[in-house]
């Protein structure tokens, strides 16, 4: 039992009448990358706040690195790193000063402090900007600085709350490279929340949370197998003839999709395709095989799309960022 980095039992958090987190249980193994996936308002941030001791749970228990988040707060805090959903940098300080402050309050020994700060800033490619005030950084630079800061004291568990929210695809990829590299090289356990499906797929295991409850938990492959069949799209010279042939040969209903030609589902697409291409008599112009995505999984489990809420949240984050700057 000892090698669980995170143990959560029946954890609940109410805000008045609202059950923001509604009795969830899960364990995260040491060194695992664990993704918490759910739409806006599902309870992801609230869960992280409880796990990192910022919010007291209404009921239930959570153990991080063997320490109780209610009774052993300072032990928990020393052993975790955090990147919050909203920036928590001191914008009036430089990047370097933010890291120095962090090293001080986390008791990073002064003998290794400067070296480690330099390594971290190099890793996130901010060494050249170290003496600029954080208020002059772009959104992506701030996120990278926060990531460097969260790692500075070598935490055993790193919590990332929507680490790439509102960033451009290039920066998102870069941040993901750091995260995966970190899991591999340092054995850091990573607990992250996201509502981007493609990001969740990079986790070793995913828990899907909806309205405060866990509705599914497994690795991405098993989750997608829940949806079942693979999706094949083909373009042919004669669609109606092809539909007839698919029906008579395999007893499968293909349907016309305006963008992709014909679409139909099969159990094991990779094994199905070679034979299909050989024996099909209607002329095929193109074929593509798609595995079900986590979007399909989410849709199947909750009956709703996760996407729409995602975009709204992105816009809100932008507006929020702007209103903050106006306070200056």
């Amino acid at each position: 039992m000892h090698n669980y980095a995170i143990k959560v039992e029946n954890l609940a958090k109410d805000f008045g009448e609202l059950h923001a987190v509604d009795g969830i249980s899960f364990n995260v193994a040491s060194g695992e990358i664990f993704g918490f996936l759910g739409p806006n308002g599902a309870g992801k941030t609230t869960t992280i706040s409880v796990l990192c001791t910022l919010t007291k749970p209404t009921s239930g228990r959570a153990i991080i690195n063997g320490y109780d988040v209610v009774r052993q707060q300072s032990k928990v805090r020393q052993s975790i790193g955090l990147v919050f959903q909203d920036s928590s940098l001191d914008e009036r300080l430089t990047g370097l000063q933010n890291l120095r402050f962090h090293a001080m309050v986390y008791n990073v020994p002064s003998s290794v402090r400067d070296k480690r700060i330099e390594d971290m800033l190099n890793m996130v490619e901010l060494w050249d900007k170290r003496n600029s005030e954080v208020s002059t950084y772009s959104g992506g630079m701030k996120r990278r600085l926060e990531l460097a800061r969260g790692l500075l004291h070598h935490p055993k568990v790193l919590f990332l709350d929507e680490p790439t929210l509102g960033l451009d695809p290039q920066t998102r990829n870069r941040i993901w490279e750091y995260i995966i590299e970190l899991g591999k090289s340092e054995g850091t356990t990573i607990f992250l929340t996201t509502h981007y499906m493609d990001e969740a797929e990079k986790a070793d295991r995913i828990a899907i949370i909806d309205s405060g409850k866990l509705v599914a938990m497994d690795n991405p492959i098993n989750l997608k197998n829940m949806v079942g069949k693979d999706i094949i799209s083909i373009k042919t010279e004669d669609d109606s003839k092809a539909i007839e042939e698919i029906k008579s040969r395999y007893a499968i209903e293909a349907r016309n999709d305006t963008n992709n030609g014909l679409i139909f589902n099969v159990v094991n697409g990779e094994e199905f395709l070679p034979g299909f291409i050989k024996e099909f008599t209607t002329k095929i112009l193109s074929v593509s095989l798609r595995r079900p995505s986590l979007d399909d999984v989410f849709l199947k489990i909750t009956g709703r799309e996760i996407r729409e809420e995602g975009t709204k949240d992105g816009i809100r984050a932008m507006v929020h960022g702007r209103s903050r700057r106006m306070h200056h």
Binding site: L54, F84, E91
Partner: protein, 216 residues
């Protein structure tokens, strides 16, 4: 310029009060900086660090008291211009008093900032408190012989006991000076005043810590 008493004219009387006022106004920045940190998110980094809430609250108070000191000292250096003579020992005596006043009032600011989350609301509350506190603290007029209701307000105003000792040190605080404050017929000595303002600061700090701890 008329003399108030003992050869002290009005400007000389005002002088210690102005020092106290300057220190008091900058000390409230402790609360402002806490509200600011919360608004910009930095407070979360501090709250989740393995340091106690107590050291955060006390650190903010002492930090702003340290910043308040130089502003007070600059005013203090203008003393010769208004005909107040200062000795080295007077200056050395006043610095800790300024720090005490700043720390005590700063902890009141911290206490308010643990509960008032928005910058706008905090500024409104601060101004509603600061101006009556300044006006009724003996900065602008001797507190002796005021009408009854005003007298009560002056005596329950903690700032009164922070400014009085500064005046006692600068203008000399003989037991029969007309600028002394008397509470329930007892004439407050220098140390009486210091004890009152220090106690006030201690209570505010304890309340601030409790308030900080008890919230999420």
């Amino acid at each position: 310029m008329g003399f108030l008493s003992d050869g002290v004219d009005f400007i000389q009387f005002m002088f210690p009060g102005i020092i106290g006022m300057t220190v008091l106004m900058s000390s409230f920045m402790a609360g402002v900086s806490l509200v600011w940190d919360r608004e910009f998110g930095f407070l979360k980094e501090v709250l989740v660090a393995p340091i106690s809430r107590t050291s955060v609250a006390v650190g903010k108070t002492f930090g702003s008291a340290t910043v308040a000191l130089p502003t007070g000292i600059i005013i203090l250096l203008l003393a010769p211009l208004v005909g107040v003579s200062l000795s080295v020992s007077t200056v050395l005596g006043i610095i800790p008093l300024m720090f005490l006043l700043a720390a005590a009032m700063g902890s009141l600011g911290i206490l308010l900032a643990t509960r008032i989350k928005s910058m706008q609301a905090f500024q409104v509350v601060m101004q509603m408190l600061m101006f009556p506190m300044l006006f009724l603290s003996g900065v602008f007029f001797p507190v002796d012989g005021l009408p009854g209701w005003m007298n009560v307000l002056v005596k329950i105003n903690p700032a009164t006991y922070g400014i009085a000792p500064i005046r006692q040190v600068i203008l000399g605080g003989s037991a029969d000076s007309p600028f002394n404050i008397s509470v329930f017929g007892h004439t407050m000595s220098l140390w009486d005043n210091i004890i009152v303002i220090a106690l006030f600061g201690l209570i505010m700090t304890l309340l601030a810590m409790w308030s900080f701890h008890s919230q999420e």
